[in-house]
Subunit: 357 residues, 2 copies
């Protein structure tokens, strides 16, 4: 990590401007959301270098000249568009908002899942609870609520969740199967995306998913649809309930984008129980996006921002961790890191862990 260890090289004038950008951040966000939603950026993009005037845009848009004007003039200030005479032309930042699927997925996730609840961030921080989740109903954490979220929020949540794993899994599969797993226990396996990938990648591996019964019903259904019903098994449990048993003695355990959903105390408990279930020859793979292991300050920004979703909306006490904090918990649980691979997918790290002798 080469960033954050010195003050930013920024003039006082630029720093004042940055402070104003933060202060008006919700406005620039909603402007971007509307310019995308009403397809203003897309229409301007199609017009190329020549651009389109407000009057031209108003001819085919549901928005009138006033509405297009306030959006696009703020778009000028945000670097989304520039003015060629009186015609608005797409600028680089607007291009990436329109064409970079990661930006779109993040923006929709913030709009549909986080925006309203974030207003309660101050309360969530004090209470250690996801106070913003009240926007969607009376839940203790977002996980059992997922199936009941409004359609847009649900779609944006899963799009966000899957986008990152979809980019990581193809690179990670060969690294895992280089260690010839026969029986992989997927802890917090959710709806079985990784289990299916494993069964497709290797003709013999068996997978057991540990998760809430609700998730497993969906996973079992997915397994059957893909013809893997005989190799994908389920083990219903509540992973935070310390009285419930773990699947014991498998050669491989697996946790992907899972530990970031828990507080440090809960992670320690889960790791301790995993270590107990492991044999001296078992391996535990952990996939995480650690903020300190990101390839750039830009990706660290996204990872750090995501932590606040956990605070305000998900469970109030988890986050995207610094790798140092997680490795400390691994050691406390009686495990050590045997292999440590960064820069997989979109800033993922794969840790292969073993029980300390």
């Amino acid at each position: 990590m080469s960033f954050y260890h010195t003050p930013k090289a920024l003039s006082a004038f630029d720093a004042k401007f940055e402070a104003q950008k933060i202060a008006f951040g919700p406005i620039s966000f909603q402007v971007a959301h509307c310019l995308l939603k009403f397809e203003v950026l897309a229409t301007i993009d199609q017009a190329g270098e020549q651009g389109l005037s407000i009057a031209q845009l108003a001819q085919t848009n549901v928005l009138n000249e006033y509405a297009l004007g306030v959006l696009l003039d703020m778009g000028l200030s945000m670097g989304l568009v520039w003015l060629n005479g009186d015609a608005y032309v797409l600028d680089k930042t607007g291009y990436f908002l329109l064409h970079d699927d990661m930006a779109a997925i993040n923006l929709n996730f913030v709009q549909d899942v986080c925006y309203q609840g974030l207003f309660q961030l101050d309360k969530a921080l004090v209470a250690g609870k996801p106070s913003g989740l009240a926007v969607f109903g009376d839940w203790q954490t977002i996980y059992p609520a997922l199936k009941d979220l409004p359609a847009e929020a649900k779609a944006s949540w899963f799009a966000f969740d899957h986008y990152y794993s979809d980019h990581a899994f193809p690179q990670i599969l060969p690294l895992v199967f280089a260690h010839s797993p026969k029986h992989l226990v997927d802890i917090g396996g959710n709806t079985g995306k990784w289990a299916l990938s494993c069964c497709e990648f290797n003709p013999e591996v068996e997978v057991t998913l540990m998760d809430f019964p609700g998730q497993l019903a969906v996973a079992k259904d997915n397994a059957t649809k893909h013809g893997f019903a005989e190799r994908i098994h389920t083990f219903a449990t509540d992973l935070l309930d310390e009285s419930r048993p773990f699947v014991e003695g498998a050669d491989t355990y697996w946790m992907s984008q899972f530990l970031d959903c828990f507080s440090q105390e809960q992670i320690l408990s889960i790791l301790q129980r995993t270590a107990q279930a492991m044999t001296p020859n078992s391996q535990l793979f952990i996939v995480e996006t650690f903020w300190d292991r990101q390839p750039s300050a830009a990706s660290a920004y996204c990872v750090n921002a995501t932590s606040l979703y956990f605070t305000a909306m998900a469970n109030g006490n988890s986050r995207m961790y610094h790798s140092k904090d997680l490795i400390k918990l691994l050691h406390q649980a009686g495990l050590y890191v045997d292999e440590d691979t960064d820069n997989l997918g979109l800033g993922h790290t794969l840790l292969r862990c073993k029980r300390k002798p």
Copy 2:
């Protein structure tokens, strides 16, 4: 205006990062709000270059290590703080968020007045109504609602409104009184801030405020308190009601931060009725913050962002205008610009207008 007429000189990488900053804008905003509210930045500022670790900060803060950690790690990504070993030190952008009263006033205005209602921006744009105002009750515009807003929203609204006029009035007074006004009609005079300034600046001038009866009651009270009851008069009306008369034949008319509260159609109507009330020797002064007359892209950003407050929260159809649009309306109303002075206060323009012969 030297900005917006060419594409931004930005690498693709930086533009992608800008797009992500916009996508996570509501998160960075709430992080800044909480770092200020819980006095984390202020405490770090006091520690100077040496900074403070999370553990040190947690000793005296209402927030625990987890809460401080998610806020401050995002603060690193936002350039608010940097890491000196494991101690967080205030960085330049954090310094201006903490010490620049304009940033604080804008941030509080966005948080307390705009944040929740901005979620309805898409609806407001389509309907031409301030759909976000429903957050505060069933109002058609924010103006009659001001006295009934929740205490925090009310305080932040008036702080925002007065901040900009407080910076402009001292520079503008001598320019206006160079033309020796004897009777100044303050159209949309609100609670009488400008009227009091005039009476203090010049011992003879008489001022008549035109506004809603509610506002004028407060203004009359203020005038009496300052000993100007005999020189400050009131004329209760609804300025949008075309059947109601104007104060006629005064030598000077005055509209400060007023026309931006109306749509172009409404502005034209107000200007036409003002022109009718004027004599050939009358002058009309208009004070506005035009986005195209701003001294920098940074101040234009703030002005353009403010337009969306009018869209979502205030009345749904007004904005901070381009000077060209307002001057066109002046001409249509039978007026011309006789003197045109930019860069007063914080990006204000003073127009002195006369009736066309």
